[in-house]
């Protein structure tokens, strides 16, 4: 006979009560673990996405309707490239790399038919000084701005890595007038590679680099020199978008407002706004997780407390007998607390397991993210479960420990 024999046998003596209490703990912990797990990976996905986007401020023509950050520049509206000079001359703190772009649709032959891609004109840094009106702004590439870090020297020799990382950096050092960078999907579609030639809008281009796959619409883009694209599309002096890598700190200090003031006829949006929907979902899930946590603490705790109080009442005769046989109050307290810990421990472990499986199944379906088990949640789930069970059981257990052993007698 051991303490755990007493507790274990009693637990299974009242199976239905034990099962319903255990189920309440289990389901509660499962829900919180599942939501927390999905939220965590969803937040990571957003962070990754934001990181991959690189540019975090877009300047677009006023009339553009923004659906998706990646394809924000794919539209028929254009704005004057004078906006670049206006931004540079405004001396706004926090404006880092600038990348003016023009996007035009192109059709590439595919056996018997054609397939549409987007030809995006980009301006290499090296060409900024070449344009007189932008020359005053060349410092934008050579000085750290607002504490954001040192920007690379535009006169430095560009490397192959620079080009490959275009999607992430949003700015390229150098790109010849008839050189092109191909998105991964385009290259795969054309079965072409670096050094090959390609015909675009009637002119021949050399493939300078095939970009790394990004999983975004950038994979379906063909990048070429901005001035060449402007000329071929008959849109000289026009832009679809100006991408800016702004400092987060400066953005929060009102950089966007200053840009809006400088360019009242343009639309200035931040990446935060674009991913706001997903962030909102994450926030909502975070809040939902908190609500469930509160529900579990209150309902689960009340359920356990109720079960324990009922259990103490039912067992008062048995407790009295134990006391008559010499059980001290500490032992009676331990009998009930051990029972609560057992329920909490098993509920916590089971809840973690079920919650994780649920998250792994539902994560890709509901939040569109792959979810992996988070071992830290096991500690958290067990701690929470055991904690609630202990707190909820303490007062019933104390009542049991203080029971009058007279309850064992028929007549007093």
């Amino acid at each position: 006979m051991k303490l755990r024999t007493l507790v274990w046998r009693e637990l299974f003596e009242r199976k239905s009560q034990m099962f319903t209490t255990f189920l309440a703990i289990l389901l509660g912990i499962t829900t919180v673990v599942a939501i927390t797990n999905v939220t965590h990976y969803s937040e990571k996905a957003v962070a990754r996405e934001m990181d991959a986007l690189g540019a975090n401020v877009l300047i677009l023509p006023k009339s553009v309707t923004l659906q998706d950050y990646y394809s924000a520049d794919i539209h028929n509206e254009v704005m004057s490239e004078d906006y670049v000079a206006m931004v540079l001359n405004a001396g706004i703190d926090g404006v880092d790399n600038l990348s003016p772009k023009l996007c035009v649709p192109v059709e590439l032959p595919e056996k018997k038919s054609t397939k549409k891609f987007t030809l995006t004109g980009i301006l290499p840094k090296r060409e900024f000084p070449a344009k007189g009106i932008w020359a005053t702004g060349t410092d934008i590439f050579s000085l750290p701005v607002g504490g954001c870090g040192t920007i690379e020297d535009p006169t430095a020799t560009p490397t192959a890595e620079d080009k490959k990382a275009l999607s992430r950096n949003r700015v390229i050092e150098d790109l010849g007038s008839h050189e092109t960078l191909l998105g991964a999907d385009v290259a795969a579609f054309l079965k072409t590679k670096k050094g090959n030639t390609l015909s675009l809008l009637g002119e021949s281009f050399t493939v300078a680099e095939v970009l790394e796959p990004t999983g975004t619409v950038d994979d379906s883009r063909i990048f070429a020199n901005l001035h060449t694209v402007q000329r071929l599309a008959n849109k000289e002096g026009k832009l679809s978008v100006i991408e800016i890598v702004g400092c987060c700190e400066e953005i929060s200090k009102g950089m966007v407002a200053k840009l809006n003031e400088t360019l009242p006829d343009a639309k200035v949006v931040t990446v935060t706004q674009v991913v706001a929907t997903q962030t909102k979902i994450n926030d909502m899930m975070g809040k939902l997780s908190l609500i469930f946590l509160v529900i579990i603490v209150v309902v689960g705790g009340a359920g356990i407390a109720n079960y324990m109080y009922a259990n103490v009442f039912e067992r008062r005769r048995e407790i009295g007998t134990l006391m008559a046989l010499g059980a001290e109050s500490g032992l009676v307290l331990r009998v009930f607390l051990l029972k609560a810990w057992l329920l909490g421990l098993v509920g916590g472990i089971g809840g973690f397991g079920m919650g994780t499986i649920l998250a792994m199944i539902l994560g890709p379906k509901l939040a569109g993210v792959a979810v992996l088990p988070m071992p830290i949640l096991a500690v958290w789930a067990i701690g929470l479960s055991v904690g609630i069970a202990t707190v909820a059981s303490y007062f019933p257990a104390r009542r049991a420990a203080r029971l009058d052993p007279c309850a064992t007698f028929q007549e007093v």
Binding site: T5, R317, E318, L322, G326, A327, C406, T408
Partner: protein, 232 residues
């Protein structure tokens, strides 16, 4: 060994004071066998509970081997019960989810005895009460007489000097009652002090003395001649 000095117990019930025990003075020497008789509500069980350290008096003192029981805190009183007192209840009070062997092991576990010794001693005690073939039976699987014998084995587990029994034959048929009372005689011959509350005159006759309670007062004490029992 056990002494009550002018012990009273009163409690409030619907704004009225009820005297459960009124100025009881009793002296029970070591090895005595006392039966307490009286009508229901006369205070018999109250007196027994007080002797067992389970119900504090409103006034007066209860002493076990010159130690005032109620000067101890509840945990020390529990230890005192564990070491000195064995209880027998009218409804046996066996733990329903433990088998006979485990029920007898409970007081041994409470006394801190290791598991092997618990098993050996519990087995020997169940053999003594004739239940060697019922050790793995739960209380619900035993007859009332067998349940009371398990309760007797449990009571003997820590070899108590004092046995307090609350109507131990109250739920039993005459034949089984006789068997249980025979066990009490045997325990008394071993030198244990027995205080037994009973309504059963035949059980009461086995005691050396009878205390009669009425309305919370001890109204009579009678020595019982039992030459045949004492000679045995």
């Amino acid at each position: 060994m056990l002494r009550m000095e002018n012990v009273s117990k009163s409690y409030r019930h619907r704004r009225k004071t009820v005297m459960a025990l009124d100025g009881a003075t009793v002296d029970i020497p070591r090895g005595d066998f006392v039966s307490i008789v009286g009508p229901s509500g006369s205070g018999k069980s109250t007196l027994l509970l007080m002797l067992g350290g389970m119900l504090s008096p409103s006034s007066g003192r209860v002493l076990l081997d010159d130690q005032s029981i109620y000067d101890l805190n509840s945990d020390r009183r529990a230890r005192l019960r564990k070491e000195n007192i064995g209880f027998v209840f009218q409804t046996f009070n066996l733990v329903p989810y433990l088998n006979a062997l485990e029920n007898v092991q409970v007081p041994l576990y409470l006394a801190g005895v290791d598991e092997n010794t618990q098993q050996e001693r519990a087995t020997a005690l169940l053999e003594r009460v004739g239940l060697e073939d019922r050790m793995d039976h739960k209380p619900a699987e035993l007859s009332v007489g067998q349940q009371q014998r398990v309760a007797l084995a449990r009571m003997l587990a820590n070899d108590p000097a004092v046995i307090l029994a609350d109507e131990p034959t109250g739920n039993l048929d005459p034949e089984t009652s006789g068997q249980i009372i025979d066990f009490f005689d045997e325990f008394n011959r071993e030198g244990r002090t027995i205080v037994m509350v009973t309504h059963d005159p035949r059980a009461a006759e086995h005691a050396r003395r009878t205390l009669t309670l009425r309305a919370g007062k001890i109204v009579g004490q009678e020595e019982i001649e039992r030459p045949s029992l004492d000679a045995a």
